[in-house]
């Protein structure tokens, strides 16, 4: 995902703050619909599709990632069809219960927001998003925490994987793999993490760290950014308050009447 953010499309060049604001506004409008809304969510697909195509991001790759996290969304909505059996939509002779509608609505919102978030990271880079968060007024410590989390999660994962491998190589017939060894291992991992944190802190103060992380400003919030935020923002408002699919449907059926 990181590597995707090092491309050089016009979308990549836009100030991360503009993209972040727009994406947040997008998510806000998408989740603000009533729980049975489906048709009005459809036009919102434009935004993630725009991000993916103009950011030159492989769609299949993003779809796979969405699939990985989809169980969470399914868990949230899966009981709706059981509790909410009241028929609210009639298609031909079959009545569709409200539970299924709201379940579908949840899944659509999930797909829209997650694909947007993933596309945002792919076309901006996680570190740039952290800086955007900071420069939009979030506490510095929050942005720095996120930054370090992202930097060292790989190191931590590697360290943990090495420990697990070392244990597996010396465990036989299921002995040694039980929950019993997890306690000491986690403790050990924590101690190693603390040691590393100390070394990193030392490396930081060796280079003059005084509590502030200074970052070179690479972006400017100019006319282009303003246009980006304003045009997408007003489009989202239009999608939110005007039922475009119904309008389009009426228009098309009107042609044949």
């Amino acid at each position: 995902m990181d590597l995707l953010s090092y491309q050089d499309t016009p979308l990549h060049k836009i100030d991360p703050r503009a993209k972040l604001i727009t994406a947040l506004f997008f998510i806000l409008t998408v989740v603000s619909f009533g729980k049975y809304e489906i048709s009005m969510l459809v036009p919102f697909i434009f935004f993630p599709v725009y991000l993916l195509t103009s950011g030159n991001i492989p769609v299949v790759y993003i779809l796979k990632k969405i699939l990985y996290v989809s169980p969470f969304a399914v868990m949230i909505g899966v009981f709706n069809p059981f509790f909410d059996q009241g028929v609210i939509l009639q298609v031909g002779n079959t009545g569709i219960p409200g539970g299924w509608i709201s379940f579908l609505s949840i899944m659509m919102r999930f797909a829209l927001t997650v694909s947007t978030a993933l596309a945002l990271i792919s076309c901006t880079g996680f570190n740039n998003i952290c800086f955007a968060i900071n420069r939009l007024g979030a506490p510095k410590i929050f942005a720095v925490q996120l930054l370090f989390l992202y930097r060292y999660i790989f190191v931590l994962a590697e360290e943990a994987a090495r420990m697990v491998r070392a244990r597996n190589l010396r465990s036989f017939d299921g002995k040694g793999k039980g929950i019993k060894t997890y306690g000491p291992m986690l403790g050990n991992l924590l101690l190693r993490t603390i040691n590393r944190a100390e070394r990193i802190h030392l490396a930081m103060i060796c280079r003059g760290f005084d509590g502030n992380i200074r970052i070179m400003k690479k972006y400017k919030f100019g006319l282009r950014e303003l246009l980006f935020v304003a045009s997408w923002g007003s489009l989202f408002l239009l999608f939110r308050f005007v039922n475009i699919p119904q309008f389009a449907g009426n228009f098309i059926t009107g042609l044949f009447v």
Partner: protein, 249 residues
């Protein structure tokens, strides 16, 4: 220029848990010298290095770096003149991209943006990794990480370079490239290492530490050829001084 000196006088340090890591260390390293600090595991090398960047303060005796004796008050000045390269590059590269990491020190020194920009590029050029400038640091190979780690320190234009095992975990080619790179630097260099062949290549002087004390201090070529001295300190001759495995000569 005589002011880039490092002088330890009867330096001693005991950890809070009672471990008497440094007992009596004295040496004088003058400007432009390149010195290898060697010794067995636990001999006190790391503790000594921790003093050189002011992370630990002398328990007894004194340490003088440049114009300043090492005290709480002078530690900031000392950190400006001493560049420390850590053994594990992952500890040293904590910023998201190579550029940000190399710019970290100069920005903290309060340099203006265009100077920082210039410095980042020129130091990356010096260590030969300018093409990595926009890469995320966690995706570099071990050799690249080491080069960038050295650049992060060089960008602060230190007078003295202190390195902890700079050749560890490098493949032979990367190791050789690093040795040649370090050779080209005019800084005062203090290198703690077990790689005695590198010490022979890079450092005209070697200090052996055993149990927190200096047991030998002199020309590398003499010290690293002294078999009895080395073996008493849990060391071995550099491979180049050892016989050929086939013919035994």
């Amino acid at each position: 220029m005589s002011h880039h000196i490092v002088q330890a006088e009867n330096l001693a340090y005991t950890y809070p848990d009672g471990n008497n890591a440094l007992k009596n260390i004295s040496f004088l390293i003058t400007h432009g010298e390149s010195v290898a600090i060697v010794g067995a595991n636990g001999a006190g090398k790391s503790t000594l290095l921790m003093h050189l960047n002011g992370h630990l303060l002398p328990g007894k005796g004194s340490l003088r770096i440049g114009d300043f004796p090492l005290t709480k008050e002078t530690v900031h000045n000392i950190r400006r003149s001493v560049g420390m390269v850590f053994q594990d590059s992952d500890d040293q590269l904590f910023m998201p991209t190579v550029y940000d990491d190399v710019a970290f020190g100069p920005l903290n020194m309060g340099l203006p943006a265009d100077v920082v920009n210039e410095r980042v590029k020129s130091t990356l050029e010096t260590v030969g990794v300018l093409h990595l400038i926009n890469r995320p640091t966690h995706r570099l190979s071990g050799g690249e990480k080491r080069s960038v780690a050295i650049a992060t320190v060089l960008s602060m234009s230190p007078d003295i370079l202190v390195m902890d095992e700079p050749t560890s975990n490098l493949d032979p080619k990367a190791r050789r490239r690093l040795i040649n790179l370090l050779k080209s630097f005019k800084h005062t260099k203090i290198i703690a290492t077990h790689d005695l062949d590198m010490a022979l290549d890079l450092c005209e002087r070697t200090i052996i530490i055993r149990d927190g004390e200096v047991v030998a201090d002199g020309k590398s070529i003499d010290i690293l050829n002294n078999e009895s001295l080395l073996s008493e300190s849990n060391l071995e001759k550099p491979l180049r001084f050892q016989g050929c495995p086939v013919c035994g000569v």
